[in-house]
């Protein structure tokens, strides 16, 4: 199959829900936290698609085969885009046997293009993700389908993973089953004869552990041998249109294959996971455990990261600034607009961004730990009742959790929801999840205004975020979606396991890199734009680059906007300007402050006094009610539009009209809540 006949996977592929039978369309996918991997082995390389039920190790296998960077996690719905990578398929040194390997394998390496398709329990398409998988495997023209399909099956839950195998075997496709989680199966006393299973399924079965990178060379050999053979005849099915009859036939077939290959203990043994679940999902204990876990995450993040942040701050405001100044003096550019751009703009802005890398990395490590351990799937069970109050199923919690990392992939993750109205409501609610970019501002304000209680203040914002989601969700449900039903909670719980260091490192690195890549671009553009607007005078008698910030175009616009925030207690024009910049990206709020204050009074080392400037600003604008004003500002920051990238993702998923509606809801909610917080707070503080 040539690449020209397979244009659907040259970009991020998204389901075209309005035209279900059309080929998946291309859409640019840009995220501050991840972008789907998009590399191919060339137009002549065979295409191998990896499919499987959610949480059977699909994305982990893809990563292991391609050394690519796809988000992997121990909970359903991790793959929401189609990723593509190159697999340098190298067979083992010695031949293996059938069921695993085939004779006559070649020694040389062969490059294969690998697609990581969204998780699907079946090809019946209950959700857009499953629809996309069906479209790519079943509904497209035969010559556009993958050359081979690797179906991942969890050995510890063999029966329900084989339903998809049964459906894929009914298609004119080469199929190889990759059996994962054999170690978990063995722990549960289940042993599987892969040769017997291969006989029963009529396709090769390879035992592999992508988390530990074992069995991959055997898989390479089997895949290459299978690719060299003709496409096998599809499995015969009953000649009927009755879905139940076809289902019965599939279950009879897969049950026979599983039974002849599996030795199971007399009854399913209770595992450590079951014992842990009795506590963490229990009616009384589950919610406090969930809150305690989340609190620990944010407390750990702030307390451990703070010293590292301080050290980096000193580095940038000291030696780095001094070095740049010395260089500028050397080329006689000190005291010019270049100094303003470089020292007060780029060094201060980028330096401020980099000080938050330890914080972000720590947060990502802890979230990866929760994901990879399997706890997040339980969190969806615990929060199901809460989600149901706003008419959303428990699994809507999953995109919302992703939103706490970054809103952009969270918007894409809403595709795991089968109901269009539930997807729309979730897309509108995701911006209220407190993303990691907002975390940087919360941590800074928490440290400046709440001292040792910074962690609790930040945690409070996350609780407020959840409350905001419920509040806005209830409001929308009671007004626009009164007739919306709710899907029953059905979640396939993965076994808990000890997170793999390599996988966690991969996920953390991918997210930190994504954050840095996007944020640095946004920061540089924003900082440059802010500097330009601050350099252009808005009053007569001043020249470009030699104008006080307050008299610049930037200052004038900010001063025009700032009275809007007077009832909320933060009508300083510098604060309003930071919010204006924050509309582009929250990563830029602090750099905007740093830039504004440093440009206003450009002494060397100014950025170290940023906290004092901000304290003074809030104290002045609130008439001495500093804490209520800061809390009002934090609530506004939490509720208003997260960033333009999120808007782009929303527009892609729900269209321009609903995106604009979302922005209006966000701004109105943010302003009303901020005013309420300040006006009530000033009565007490």
């Amino acid at each position: 199959m040539s690449e020209s006949t397979h244009p659907r996977v040259t970009g991020s592929v998204t389901p075209e829900t309005s035209h279900p039978r059309s080929a998946a369309r291309l859409a640019p996918a840009k995220s501050c936290c991840q972008t789907p991997s998009q590399v191919s082995a060339g137009p002549r390389a065979p295409v191998v698609a990896i499919v499987g039920a959610p949480n059977t190790g699909k994305s982990t296998l893809f990563n292991a085969l391609t050394a690519s960077r796809v988000t992997t996690g121990n909970w359903p719905g991790t793959t929401v885009e189609v990723s593509r990578g190159v697999w340098r398929a190298t067979p083992p040194a010695s031949p293996c046997t059938r069921g695993g390997c085939a004779d006559g394998h070649e020694e040389s390496t062969q490059d294969l293009t690998v697609l990581d398709l969204p998780g699907a329990y079946s090809l019946d398409a209950h959700s857009p993700d499953e629809h996309l998988t069906r479209e790519l495997l079943q509904e497209g023209p035969v010559d556009e389908r993958p050359d081979l399909c690797v179906v991942t099956v969890d050995a510890s839950r063999l029966a329900h993973g084989l339903y998809l195998v049964a459906q894929v075997r009914e298609l004119p496709l080469r199929v190889v089953v990759a059996m994962t989680m054999s170690d978990v199966a063995l722990q549960r006393g289940v042993s599987i004869d892969s040769h017997a299973l291969a006989e029963g399924l009529g396709c090769p079965v390879v035992t592999t552990d992508p988390r530990r990178r074992t069995g991959l060379d055997t898989l390479a050999a089997v895949v290459r041998t299978t690719l060299a053979a003709p496409v096998p005849a599809p499995r015969p099915t009953p000649d009927t249109d009755d879905a139940l009859t076809r289902d019965d036939d599939r279950f009879t077939w897969l049950s026979a294959a599983a039974e002849q290959a599996t030795v199971v203990p007399g009854h399913d043994r209770l595992t450590l996971s079951d014992k842990v679940d009795r506590w963490v999902t229990a009616p009384l204990l589950g919610p406090p455990v969930f809150l305690a876990v989340m609190w620990a995450v944010f407390q750990l993040t702030t307390t451990v990261a703070t010293p590292l942040q301080d050290a980096l701050d000193r580095l940038f405001s000291g030696p780095v600034t001094d070095t740049v100044m010395a260089g500028l003096t050397l080329v006689h550019l000190d005291g010019t607009w270049v100094e303003g751009l470089l020292v007060n703009g780029l060094v201060a802005g980028v330096g401020m961004l980099l000080t938050f890398v330890p914080l972000m990395a720590l947060m990502f490590v802890l979230l990866a730990l929760l994901e990879d351990s399997g706890y997040l799937a339980r969190a969806a069970v615990v929060t199901d009742r809460l989600m149901r109050t706003i008419g959303l199923p428990g699994r809507a919690f999953l995109p919302l959790v992703v939103g706490f990392g970054c809103n952009v992939p969270a918007i894409s993750a809403t595709r795991i929801l089968p109901d269009a109205r539930q997807r729309l409501l979730t897309v509108l609610l995701v911006p209220f999840t407190s993303c990691s970019a907002r975390l940087t501002v919360f941590v800074m304000l928490g440290t400046v205004f709440f001292g040792r209680n910074a962690g609790t203040a930040v945690f409070g914002m996350y609780v407020a975020s959840v409350a905001l989601i419920v509040l806005v969700g209830l409001l929308l449900r009671r007004t626009l979606w009164r007739t919306m039903g709710s899907e029953p909670l059905i979640i396939d719980l993965p076994a808990y396991h000890v997170p793999t260091l390599r996988l966690m490192a991969l996920v953390v690195w991918q997210r930190v890199r994504g954050f840095l890549r996007t944020a640095s671009g946004i920061i540089v553009i924003t900082v440059s734009a802010v500097w330009l607007l601050q350099s252009v005078p808005a009053v007569a008698g001043q020249s470009f680059g030699h104008v006080g910030v307050e008299d610049s175009v930037y200052g004038v616009v900010a001063r025009t906007v700032s009275p809007v925030f007077e009832p909320a207690g933060f009508n300083q024009w510098q604060t309003a300007s930071a919010l204006m910049v924050g509309f582009v990206a929250k990563e830029a709020v602090i750099s905007s402050w740093a830039q504004t204050y440093a440009t206003d009074q450009p002494q060397p080392g100014q950025s170290g006094l940023l906290g004092e400037h901000i304290q003074a600003a809030f104290q002045q604008s609130s008439g001495g009610h500093t804490l209520p004003a800061v809390l009002a500002f934090m609530v506004f920051l939490l509720a208003y539009t997260p960033c333009v990238a999120t808007l782009a993702a929303q527009r892609r998923e729900v269209g321009l009209r609903w995106t604009a509606f979302g922005v209006a809801v966000q701004l109105a909610t943010a302003w009303l809540l901020a005013v309420a917080v300040f006006q009530v707070g000033r009565l007490f503080w």
Binding site: H160, D274, I490
Partner: protein, 76 residues
């Protein structure tokens, strides 16, 4: 005809057999997870909001409270 008991009143830890699921779409969705009419399973634990976690063919499936009320089973 509805017989047996709903899962809300079914005991934890005892082998149960699932009876017919009235909603074909729901039945199909549960079947892909291994939970079909006539299949043996056990309830493992209560969850927040009145749901249950059940064990079927090695899989642990969390079900919400409304589903727990709708599904019926009998002692295996």
């Amino acid at each position: 005809m509805a017989t047996g008991m709903d899962l809300r009143s079914a005991p934890l830890g005892e082998p149960l057999t699932l009876l017919r699921v009235d909603d074909p779409l729901l039945g199909q969705r549960l079947a892909t997870l291994g939970l079909r009419e006539g299949v043996s399973f056990r309830l493992l634990t209560h969850t927040v909001g009145g749901g249950r976690i059940l064990l079927v063919d090695g899989s642990r499936i969390a079900l919400g409270s409304d589903l727990v009320r709708r599904l019926r089973a009998r002692a295996a």
